[in-house]
Amino acid sequence: MIDVEIVWDNLPLYLRGTWTTLWLTFTALAFGLVLAVPLAVARTSRNPLINGPVFLYTYFFRGTPLLVQLFMIYYGAGQFAWIRNSALWPLLSQAWFCALLAFTLNTAAYTAEILRGAIAATPKGEIEAARALGMSRALIFRRILLPSAFRRALPAYGNEIIFMLHGSAVASTVTIVDLTAAARIVNARYYSPYEAFLTAAAFYMALTFAITGLIRLLERRWHAHLRPHLS
């Protein structure tokens, strides 16, 4: 049935692919998170000039497929002369940068909405108390709203990490040799779809379980004060 030798011979390819997948996913997640915090704060603004554009951005990136976003950047950027003549072109003409950009913009949109929801769920009394103590708006965000919002957002953000890990498989469609592309190469070389794709599936599954395990540990730490006391 399954030819173990094919898997064994191509293990280095799969491992390199795994590294690329992890690198792409977590770099995009890191940049995305950094972008998402100011975006989420902007989304809570009552000024439509601040809130509106951010809403349109998150609406677009959450309402369209990641694959199409990637193609828009990877194939689409070259359509415009002003981009081809810009200083960014050496980067935008490379697949890894386009994938990283698409993934970052995508996860930033999802994360901003997760954080916005978490900020909106802050108990009113906490904000009133902070205001009564004379804290400024910026200080309230930094000391009160954001720390508890991060904590509340953790379960939903854990799902976003897994979505990004699985979503990153589309990088294989723009010449990037990630874990999925490794499987596609093995399938094309040996015409052995079971070995090729089941191996990639096993790798992805291991990564998924490892990440969900880590998040559960983090949740236990961050949500320790919410658990019932068992003495």
Binding site: F71, L165, A200
Partner: protein, 229 residues
């Protein structure tokens, strides 16, 4: 507006195929989801284990990888089967492989949604139905499914939005959906951004209409709940 250089009708044709694939996958996923949820709540342990394995394993792997596995692996399986049975060449095709995979994957997500919704139906209602002499299938059709629908609707709606966007992946295994049509038009006109942006706008329109319809459906499903005291 966007100048589609005469490729507008082709993109629309692809959009129809995208919608067909999404709806077919939805029907399949609802079926797999209902079976999965019933198995998860079954009194038989092997059934529960099978359902747990289904939902856990499927949700650990990207859609694209499973799609490629079913597309290439399914073709190989059909070739072997056809050779043994003495059939001619049987083509699996991207539509069948894609819809089957998406239905199977989102069935796992639907199963989790349905499981929660079924548990939200008061047990007494099911017991009352049995006491009236209804058979298990009749209880399912008349009591359980209509009652759990309103609890399941928000989750089903979310799954549908994710599924709809996942149909874009069908272009990778060669389905002539709107993403693939856009790629062809992009190659011919050298205006890839225009066409992929147009496709993105169609997806945005589809998700927007879906969201509005789902909100209306949720209001309809909650019509019996009243407005409280």
């Amino acid at each position: 507006m966007l100048d589609l250089k005469g490729y507008g009708p082709a993109i629309l044709e692809g959009a129809v195929l995208t919608i067909e694939a999404a709806l077919a996958s939805l029907v399949l996923s609802l079926l797999f989801g209902l079976l999965g949820a019933l198995a998860k709540l079954a009194p038989l342990r092997p059934l529960r284990l099978l359902a747990a394995a289904y939902t856990t394993l499927i949700r650990g792997v990207p859609e694209l990888v499973l799609m490629l596995l079913v597309f290439f692996g399914g073709q190989m399986l059909m070739n072997e089967l056809a050779a043994q049975m003495g059939w001619g060449h049987v083509d699996v095709g991207p539509f069948a492989a894609g819809v089957l995979t998406l239905g199977f994957i989102y069935g796992a997500y639907m199963a989790e949604t349905f499981r929660g919704a079924i548990l939200a139906v008061p047990k007494g209602q099911l017991e009352a139905a049995r006491a009236f002499g209804m058979g298990p299938l009749l209880v399912l059709r008349r009591i359980l499914i209509p009652q759990m629908l309103r609890h399941a609707l928000p989750g089903v709606g979310n799954n549908w939005l994710v599924l709809l966007k996942a149909t874009a992946l069908l272009s990778v295994i060669g389905l002539e959906d709107m993403v693939r049509k856009a790629a062809l038009a992009a190659g011919a006109t050298r205006q890839p951004f225009t066409f992929y942006f147009a496709v993105a706008l169609v997806f945005l329109a589809l998700t927007t209409v879906s969201t509005l319809l789902l909100a209306a459906a949720e209001r309809w499903a909650r019509r019996g709940e009243g407005r409280g005291p």
